[in-house]
Subunit: 443 residues, 2 copies
């Protein structure tokens, strides 16, 4: 169904509740966790027709839009008012702001500025059994009572359907510069990361691309990698990509602080690179890596930032054990690792092994005290791991909250929910699992 | 009860659940909404013995402490590591971090940096019917599943009892300067506020003190108010108090941007003042104003920032109608107004009229599209107004979430809950209402 407005969304929810039919909200369809797919049947409600700009108040840094407005249009509306919408998830031309809220989408700049939820000051949502509720609003989210706005953020359409969003904007950034730090090995990359984190600089972006992923995309790298075979062998660790922003004096000061922080570290080479081509190159990483063998399995995990080197080492070990090429990149500043295993889907059991490697990466995240999802959400594909991450008490609370707002379990059923851990469930989910092979791909 | 550790808190909750006894968590007891008072009987659980520092990791900007650690000690621990804990609610020497989380405490610097909840990356909480749950942690709050951490923040002890907190720290600020803007009247203050908000400067603090409150504390004002009778008459509008922080170049740039933004406005006078004495003076406002007639009724409301002048005008009208002196001050940048009515509690029905004026201020906040609480929470004293603010659909969701995590309604009963609106309830609550007269007082 493609309802024309918020009231039609609420009516649809009411009908589904009255007829015991599952309802699956869908934004731009760019999610990577199967969140918007009607895997247990039911009605898919696309928000694409909810595209009105409800209010734009540049002086108060406020923008209210319906849920179906595309992320890129939100960014454009902000820019045209001399402001900035900070979240920058991938696929912004296709994704919708309602989906960004439902998944609490991040992006490279989330390191400094925060994810989508940090910019949501109010929501209009359709709640079971079929009503519209206004949450927060008028420029702030901390109103009175519980932070229901925050509860809806990241709930992946399982507690209600976001129909409109009030956003906090920020002043436009005065400028940006990008730096690339080449490192010798995992340990020197880990040390550099910690040195940057404990410096007084506040990078807007702090990414990493490991040596194997860098190699795959080296031909189009827009900067000057350290030259020659000796140098390539030397700088064989992950590459860190940073952006500093703000007025020039501030960027220069922060650059000085970064260089001072990195000055003591061995085996580093710091290069300045124009930001726009660097981030275009970085955005292309997913496709380039998928092209190496024709496909890949990527899992988006989060690890404590002080354990990044340990995580990468373990990802490589998983690949070696399953005879798959492994590589990784991600948002180093937030500990987000897109652990990737290259597969040729047409060859033998490579895809099967890749999926197994992906599951091992999720177990790794848990073993390191991390999270089974960095920024892509739990959706359908990771639900079997949710209970292990949350532990019994939080799992019970999670399920009680779900039942409270969706007593009949009709809102995006199965998604973002701890699955019962038994043999049947495991087997069943392997059959319906959406393999994250090629296409779309992680930010 | 004064449990010795988190497990004892969970056991206490378990006992209360097993015996149908209300349980009221209590931190430093500095709240202004009656949230920590056992108004319906039951067991008061003080967190004061949970004072351990669990981990401090300066390089990762992380600090984990038990719930009973005082706010001032959290700030000191951060400072001693070269870092900053940004929230700065009043009464930091007495309040505890667990209570700050439970009320999502703010403070002047919340304008730039955010309230307590923005710095909580993980929680340990005792949940009904008596278990400990770990939520978030390892440096981030966005883990997997619902943001239960955020749901507990600001829940005022009605969904669970916070026993430990993982906090995000920030680098220490490089310095600060304070500016005071004297205005002619309500309209020139409103214009100045909007000009500041739409400038590129990001003040750390943006407060206001209206002319009547300023007058009461003028003798100890640490700066140079515009002199002479003519000047006093001229600058009879609210005074705006600002702080700019960061490295000197940044402060200077922002000061320039502010002065440019204010340059066009009529009837302003901008003075520079040393920050420390200014904020001490501002902190004393509550006591000074209470001293004028020996008591006062203050209500902490929030209004859209573009309606601040309108709100102040209406507060004065309420005072005039009830023959009470009215004044106000608060966090202009966040639209938070401490609407204050002076009373001599020993004289006639002044206190009674003051309480009526306070209720009118809450109704005013709702009429302006604002909130019945700016930063003090709903607690017991504002619960009758909660349903009107939330509306029927959000009220129902609020109640369902409460029942989900506290099915027997034993966790801090009556607090932060929409009360049934009937005559009996009204009469009953008037009898037990805690009048916010003198003492403590709003930040």
């Amino acid at each position: 169904l493609r309802p024309a407005d918020a009231r039609a969304v609420a009516r649809t929810l009411g009908w589904c509740y009255g007829h015991d039919v599952p309802i699956v909200p869908r934004g731009g369809g760019t999610g990577l966790a199967g969140g918007a797919a009607p895997l247990l049947g039911g009605v898919v409600v696309s928000l694409e027709r909810l595209r009105r700009v409800l209010a734009i108040e540049p002086g108060l840094w406020r923008l209210s839009v319906e849920a179906g407005v595309r992320t890129a249009d939100v960014a454009r509306l902000a820019r045209e008012s001399g402001l900035m919408f900070a979240p920058d998830p991938g696929a912004a031309e296709q994704s919708q702001i309602g989906g960004n809220v439902a998944t609490n989408a991040g992006g490279p700049h989330a390191f400094k500025y925060g994810r989508t939820g940090a910019f949501v000051s109010g929501l209009e949502v359709a709640l079971a059994p079929g009503e519209l509720a206004q949450l927060g609003g008028a420029g702030w989210r901390e109103a009175a009572g519980y932070d229901l706005t925050g509860l809806l953020v990241g709930s992946e359409g399982t507690l209600g359907i976001v129909t409109a969003v009030e956003l906090r904007l920020l002043p436009a950034r005065a400028g940006a510069l990008a730096l690339v730090v080449f490192t010798d090995d995992l340990q020197s990359a880990q040390s550099a990361l910690l040195a940057i984190l404990s410096s007084d600089a506040r990078p807007a972006v702090l990414e990493f691309v490991d040596a194997r992923a860098f190699q795959a995309a080296a031909a189009t790298f827009p900067g000057e990698p350290p030259r020659g075979a000796a140098s390539a062998a030397r700088h064989a660790g992950p590459v860190l990509l940073l952006e500093l922003d703000g007025p020039e004096v501030q960027r220069d000061r922060e650059r000085g602080e970064l260089e001072e922080a990195l000055g003591d570290a061995e085996g580093l080479s710091v290069e300045s690179v124009p930001p726009a081509p660097l981030w275009r190159w970085r955005d292309g990483m997913n496709g380039v890596v998928a092209g190496v063998r024709g496909g890949k399995v990527s899992e988006d995990i989060r690890v404590p930032r002080e354990r990044l080197a340990e995580a990468l080492e373990a990802v490589y070990a998983i690949g070696a054990e399953l005879s798959l090429q492994a590589c990784a990149w991600g948002h180093a500043g937030d500990g987000i690792v897109h652990a990737t295993f290259l597969v040729d889907p047409a060859t033998g059991d490579e895809l099967e092994r890749g999926l197994r490697a992906g599951e091992r990466a999720l177990e790794l995240a848990l073993a390191l005290g991390g999270s089974i999802t960095g920024e892509h959400g739990v959706g359908w594909v990771k639900r079997r791991f949710l209970a292990a991450q949350l532990g019994p008490a939080a799992t019970a609370a999670h399920e009680r909250v779900k039942r409270a707002l969706d007593p009949r379990g009709l809102l995006n059923p199965g998604k973002n929910q701890p699955a019962v851990e038994d043999g049947g469930e495991r087997a069943g989910s392997a059959g319906t699992r959406v393999p994250p092979v090629a296409g779309g791909g992680p930010g």
